[in-house]
Amino acid sequence: MSLFHVVEFCLKIGQLFWMLCCWLVSWLIDDKSPLPVGSVGDPDKTKMKKNHHHHNKMCFFWNKISTSGFKIPTFSLHPVRFGKNWWKKVVVAWVVLWVLISFWTFCYFSSQAMDKRKETLASMCDERARMLQDQFNVSMNHVQAMSILISTFHHAKFPSAIDQRTFSEYTDRTSFERPLTSGVAYAVRVLHSERKEFERQQGWIIRRMDSFEQKPVHKDEYNIEALEPSPVQKEYAPVIFAQDTVSHVISLDMLSGKEDRENVLRARKSGKGVLTAPFPLIKTNRLGVILTFAVYKRDLPSNATPKERIEATNGYLGGVFDIESLVENLLQQLASKQTILVNVYDTTNHSEPISMYGSDVSADGLEHVSPLNFGDPFRKHEMRCRFKQKPPWPVLTMVTSFCILVIALLIAHIFHATMSRIQRVEEDCHKMKLLKKKAEAADVAKSQFLATVSHEIRTPMNGVLGMLHMLMDTELDVTQQDYVRTAQASGKALVSLINEVLDQAKIESGKLELEEVRFDLRGILDDVLSLFSGKSQEKGLELAVYISDHVPEMLIGDPGRFRQILTNLMGNSIKFTEKGHIFVTVHLVEELLDSSDVETSTSTENTLSGLPVADRQRSWQKFKSFSSSGHRSFALAPSEINLIVSVEDTGVGIPVEAQSRIFTPFMQVGPSISRTHGGTGIGLSISKCLVGLMKGEIGFSSIPKVGSTFTFTAVFANGMHSSERKSELHNNNQPILSEFKGMKAVLVDHKPARGQVSRYHFQRLGIRVEIVSGVEQALRFTTTVNIILIEQEVWSKEADVFIKKLQKDPLVHSPKLFLLANSIDTSISDSLRNIIDPPVLIVKPLRASMLAATLQRGLGIGNSETSQQKGPPALILRNLLLGRKILIVDDNNVNLRVAAGALKKYGADVVCAESGVKAISLLKPPHEFDACFMDIQMPEMDGFEATRRIRDMEEEMNERNKTGESLTVEESNRTRWHLPVLAMTADVIQATHEECLKCGMDGYVSKPFEAEQLYREVSRFFSSPSDTES
């Protein structure tokens, strides 16, 4: 009964889960259709929906948690090869597995409960059966004892010791011994022959029982007299004694009752207690069983034959067992009689068991059968027990399995959510990657576009500028000229902007490559300085450069880019500085590191203009190569030079909030900056990139309203390889030295820092400089020095003293006076007018070439007429070549004429020769020429050969000189013959150059002549005539 319900419930739950699974699977497979499987379980549709709703809610909840609560780490789980949605299958398998497990758990626990129940039932049933059996046996034994009592006291004694009264009394009093019997009676065996005698003795007739049994009547109406007398039989068994409870059976013939007869016959045959089938008892009409024992005349042996037993039978003792009431009594004595239902059956006839006790409620449910043995082998009895109540619902089991299922589903859901999130993230990541690639491609395209467009704009712009330049040469009125100049300036600005953008684009697309050429750092700085000199003079700024002596003359690197960085930084400084100074210093990094303490202790007075500046050290504090432990961390190859360049200004400084983005392209300090100062704001960004390319770093420190200091480092290769070349280069690059070498000067400057810088520049020219702080001190030097240099500031204060002194004591050999000024101030020039010999103004920034030219002019060195005409190279060339006798050898008439013309222009006395042979004939020592320019490629005898022969002749002559074979006195004066021979060649290839040197030539010039180069070469052999004169 309850088992059925349980099974039904289980099936229902199972179906539910199955549906859930189906739904989950379909949901996993296709996320888009949230409500599939409609027609599978129609009766459960509502449940399904409810469940689904619930699930949705849960999903939402979990999603919420997973989105807000914990972030799933984006580990790059590369999709495993076996399918993208493998985990969905895993989820399904997981869910199915756990559904099965929970179902199994449920079944397992319920079956266990069932087993326990069964066991309980069995033990209870067995207990009852055993008790019943025991009590029955006790009663039976007593009945048997009574049969013996009767045979002893009734039949063996004569007259009988027992009569009805005794019997009933005795049996009543001993009824407690037979708890299951409701009464006992004794019937005696009477043969028909003895009937009359017996009826007479007893005083009643033997009555039959059949009708009595057929017409059961109520006790009250029961009338023994109404019964018919027993018909004639072979023998009778009338009841003579009976317990009070059954006294109504006295005189009834037991053999006449069907059940009793059978019972009696069986009892006397077997000599054991025999039971009847249950039948309704007379009078009470309740179900009862009669136990019959035979009473024998003598003690029979146990193996006596039935016949002997029948012979020996005297009577029969029967006990009535009122099973119904008795069992009831018995069960009432036991505990938990409410929980159990007991039925007792007589199962002698298996097909139709006779119920002896209990009600037939239903034949279903749990039942336990215990066999009962009442001592009669013929009769079989059994006890069937059932629980009164249905088994309780297995709530715990259900809850347990349900919980398991829920947990499993939750885990699956978490797993699913995680995986789908990971998948989503992966997809996003993939998308991002694609987008990133696209963006990068776009960036490259942009850079390329910029590069192309910039380039394409530059070409026509050059045309425009060129034409504008030409236009300026034509005759224009003032207004037109102004227009053209404006147009040109705008055009130049545009070109420079385009160049910057082009650079940026090149850098971004990684196309920028640095050159590796030798260059003169000092020359570059001089160039940059002269570029900004106009502006600085205009603003009255002090612009100065200082290069440490440790920095080599020649470096290998990209001069153009280095210059660009410097120009950017200085351009910014100039732009933002209104007063004070801009100071560029170049040092070796090692130098700064070694003397960092001394170098950086710059007090306010110690700056160039006396204004405070931003701390230089701070600007390179962040450099990696400068980290405290990194003194030797930047292991440079011995040929590498690590330069550190600082540009210090006293400008407005950079606002603190803008300092972080100063190196970002197109970022300016503020939008107003571009309006007030112009510029695109990519200069610094480009500089940073360039510095990076030069393996350096850039940094700055800036104090608003005080100034900024930008510092960068750059690595170059040393351009000075051997001592030989060094000397050569020295000659090449500092030709001016010779003019001023050995001169002495005194510099009047009360600012030591500025004095140092000025001194540095004069020392480059070979002038020894003494620094004094006041005019008075300077006057002490007047006899010993060639030059007196006075700072403008000092002059404007102390000019009078000086002038007075000079006027008072005009010196014959007075040193020349020079003024160092930042700008051409009218007041100064005014004050200069009063003096007889006005001092010469040197306008800063100081740089070698300008300084040399000014000094030359001031000191009267060089030709005064030429100095007015042309720029320095031409002027100095004329200086050098004036009056020199030069031989030019070239087979090409045109070239010959042109070269001669060029040299003649510089005042040289030129002789021409058309061939090598002629040249040799002209160049026999003693030489009348000062130099020879020789073409290399000539027919008959080329330049190399001719030179070789000349050298041979010279050698011969020198040998003779040494050995004292000199022809004339004049010749012997000259210790050694060596005519400078310079090659003239069109192709300026290194190989040719080396070939030239090998043949004894002293250098080469390109054809046609370039003034600069010509000057460089010539100046190596000719010293200025003024020098030689003095």
């Binding site: 090409n892 045109v894 042109v898 013309g901 060029a902 003649k904 069109a986």
Partner: protein, 163 residues
Amino acid sequence: MDSHVAQLQMQYRNYILSLYQQGFLDDQFTELKSLQDDGSPDFVAEVLSLFFDDCVKLVGNMARALDQTGTVDFSQVGANVHQLKGSSSSVGAKRVKGLCINFKELCEAKNYEGCVRCLQQVDIEYKTLKAKLQDMFNVSVIIVHMNPVSVWDDFNKIILGKE
């Protein structure tokens, strides 16, 4: 009268400018002109006449060398081209110089056809240049050597044939 001279000068200048722009001349010619001063007033003319004489001679040489049946002596041609190249670069005859450079390469490659073609081009080119410079020269001579007044008169006389 002054305005006429100015006009003439203007034309002269424009003419030279056009020669530069068309690539007949380069900076070297400017240099050459700057070499002419009071000491050597006819320097440019001298040099140019030397150059053109050279051209006639060298082109003739080369033509003869290339005209030879059988084996052509490319080295001889090459030497001549080199000469011409040196000369032309000295006077700043840009186009001739450019052609010479090509010519020299062709010569080194012993490309007969190319050489002949190049020679023809050189011939044409130097003659064109000569004609152009002649014109210019004539004008410059007028400007430089006459005083402003007489320049105009002479100009009228010589160029325009007016009285």
